[in-house]
Amino acid sequence: MTLLQWFPFVGLAYNRIEWFFIVYVGTINAINFVLMVLGYFALQRHSSALGVSEMRGMFKSSLLPSVSILAPAYNESATIRLSVRAMLNLNYPNHEVIVINDGSKDDTLRILIEEFRLYKSSRRITGRLPTQPVRGVYESRDPIRLVVVDKVNGGKADSLNAGLNVARGDLAAAVDSDSLLEADSLLEVVRPFLTDPEMVAVGGLIRVVNGCTVEDGRVTRVGLSKSWLVRFQTIEYLRAFLGGRVAFSFFNSLLLISGAFGLFRRWALIEAGGFETGTVGEDMELVVRLHELRRSRKAPCRIAFVPHPVCWTEVPELWRTLYRQRNRWQRGTVESLWLHRSMFLNPRYGALGLFAFPYFVAFEALGPAVELAGYLLTITCLVSGRIDPAVAALFFVVSVAFGVLLSISSVLIEELTLSRYPNPTDVLRLLAAAVLENFGYRQLMTLWRAIGLFDALRGKTGWGAMERRGFKVSET
């Protein structure tokens, strides 16, 4: 007796169900394709704005708003020295770096105290956002604007709120302390705030640092990692940032600014109540909340993505770490969408309520479960001979081949617009990864995300640990 005979409704309607999966997967891919085309043209337009060298002229200007960089750190002893140095050395005339030591169990705080000659300061905590108790605030004796907040462990969102409480800049940048910002990244990410008074938040492009060479906290040679796992993730980052985010930003419907690098008007963050501590997707939740709060009050709200300021981040090189990360991302997405479900198909929120939010619900939150069910049903029906092989082939062509095309397109967009990989061999390797990730890796991610969806539904919380290998530092 086959599995299908236990489910008569499936047995009767399997062909129609199969067609549902085909149409579903085809629709995701078609929408993603149009978003990618839109993203390409929007990227081209963006390149006509002030570029890096032009922005450097502004470095001397005192007209730029002050920025507080908030970098939560938990057991980051491997990378903290380099990343804080990189943040302090950013080309920006008026910025302070606030590292929040979230109760690290390793010697993150000791390294910071010794490396930057910190003393326990009397700096006033002016904010009122509730956080775990702060054990002390440290500042440097050297002429560098570094503040370290040492507090009881409370998670990333709690740390960011603690950082916001001591921040004094007009703008607040939330970054991961294990990430490296490019020297001009702040200048560029600030630009939308200077050109659009309605700008509330801006996100930058996140790139994979694994495989690159880092000197003094700066990426000096862009390269591709030898690990295929990292290469697959590089493709995922390109696809997500250069396709989706540019396009969603184009019609002011961006629902996610990566927690690794986002810049906000500080008053807007405080007005919104800071970062939500009860979710693992605090970055997405905040952006959705900002949209909801401001739009429901009919207050202007622009949230944009700019593709040039680059933040380099270390991606997992171990399968188990990647599993935890993806599980967390999926739970974060589901939680954020659920918390703000009133926006779903709500015309009051414009394109965001009518397109971006339903897109995220249908394809990002529920997508993995539907796609996984499609794979399982197709294989089961094909094995039991209950499906036309042509229909099964169609499902695989739609899901796998279209996935390959989207990944290749993202590499093409990268090559045609930003061109950050100087070695043509790396571009070819990326293309190979764009093809190969669709045969096994993507399906595994679908499975993990489906588990994440299930975990979110049963109320699982917690982050899980992320093992750091540290940046590949040049010997020169």
């Binding site: 007209l63 630009r191 279209f402 290749i408």
Partner: protein, 389 residues
């Protein structure tokens, strides 16, 4: 992104999607449908095929273009020293026009780049000879023509090249470029006009800066810094008296951005404006407005009803080291707005001994909030830190 640019993005997306649709229809009709009778499969395969072919073409094109650029660069590098020595000889008075015209026909990019480098670094007779050479070789005319291009990168390059020639024909191009839709082109044009040193053009750039975004304004303000005394004589006072809030705020922003003393009496009057934002921005610019009686106005605004004005006044008092402000600053240590309290403490710390003594007293005897603000200010003063707020 402006409306025009947005509609161009939509239009391009619609065109590309339509072109894809047509290609897929054709591939399905003539290639896949005859072999795969099932409609869904045939269309999907057609889409896949079309996309693969296009991806291959685009990628090959990108790689070929990258390789060609590399080859041309290498070829250019071989002849560059010869071109540069010709240019150097011409600048020194020898006539190398014919030889350079020959080079220009074969290696236009290298000649342009070398000429640009020479014109940017030379002065006096040598520069004039090369400026004349650029005109004689028809380069100025060609760059002026290139400026009409629809491509931003071409217009930018043309303007950059024209800016170093300093030719009178180029001035018209610069003036037109102030209205260009490209932000950086507008900055470049303003920069070129200011570099000429003509007072009328400096005024034109100043007026241009007033109407730009803060990003552009900050760049143009830096260019205008050497001419601030000229602007302070007439243009700045006129704008500050105009009553147009956005222009007044922009002008005050520019004064603050310069960060140097400039004699503009009108700033003092704006400190008493009925609009709190104007008062605050005027106070921010006040430390640089060298005019009589401004100190009294700053002190009076430390007790303003608006917190942003109180804060700006406290900062201004600290920057000008107005000792008469000490009692008011001390009172503000208990301000309901913490940013005002912090600014007042910092201002007191910059006053030297009298301010520091009061802060010490406040730490010991003051109310808890005031004591904590005072303690931080004292701590910073002791380690010689002034870069905090």
């Amino acid at each position: 992104m402006p409306f025009g640019a947005r509609s161009r993005v939509w239009m391009s997306t619609a065109l590309v999607t339509a072109a894809y649709g047509i290609l897929i229809w054709a591939a399905n009709r003539f290639v896949t449908a005859p072999h795969f009778p099932q409609w869904g499969l045939s269309v999907t395969l057609a889409f896949t095929g079309v996309q693969f072919v296009l991806a291959a073409i685009i990628l090959s094109g990108a790689l070929v273009s990258r390789t060609l650029t590399l080859l041309l660069m290498r070829r250019g590098m071989k002849v560059a020293p010869e071109i540069q020595s010709c240019l150097a000889a011409h600048a020194n008075g020898e006539n190398r026009r014919k030889r350079l015209a020959l080079f220009l026909r074969r290696y236009p990019e290298v000649v342009e780049t070398s000429l640009f480098a020479f014109l940017s670094s030379l002065r006096g007779m040598e520069r004039e000879r090369l400026q004349k050479l650029a005109a004689d070789l028809g380069l100025v005319a060609s760059w002026t023509k290139r400026f009409r291009s629809g491509r931003v990168s071409k217009r930018r390059r043309a303007l950059e090249l024209l800016a170093v020639t300093g030719s009178p024909e180029a001035m018209g191009v610069f003036r037109r470029a102030l209205d260009d839709r490209d932000e950086w082109l507008r900055v470049m044009a303003s920069r070129a006009l200011v570099a000429g040193g003509n007072v009328r053009e400096v005024h034109r750039s100043f007026e241009f800066a007033l109407r730009q975004t803060p990003a552009v304004r900050s760049l143009v303000a830096e260019d205008l810094k050497p001419h601030m005394q000229i602007l302070a004589a007439r243009a700045l006072p006129q704008v500050l008296r105009s009553g147009d809030k956005s222009l007044v705020l922009a002008a005050l922003d520019i004064i603050w951005g310069w960060g140097r003393a400039v004699p503009v009496a009108e700033v003092s009057g704006l400190i008493d404006s009925g609009d709190a934002i104007v008062r605050a921005v005027a106070l921010r610019a006040a430390p640089y407005a060298s005019t009589d009686g401004i100190n009294g106005k700053i002190v009076s605004r430390i007790s303003d009803e608006a917190p942003l004005v109180r804060r700006a006044a406290a900062v201004a008092a600290g920057k000008r080291r107005i000792e008469e402000a000490i009692p008011q600053l001390l009172a503000r240590l208990q301000d309901s707005d913490e940013r005002v309290a912090v600014a007042a403490a910092r201002a007191l710390a910059t006053m030297g001994e009298p301010g520091l003594a009061l802060l010490e007293k406040e730490v010991v005897m003051g109310a808890p909030d005031a004591a904590s603000v005072a303690l931080e200010a004292l701590e910073k003063a002791r380690i010689g830190r002034t870069d905090w707020e």
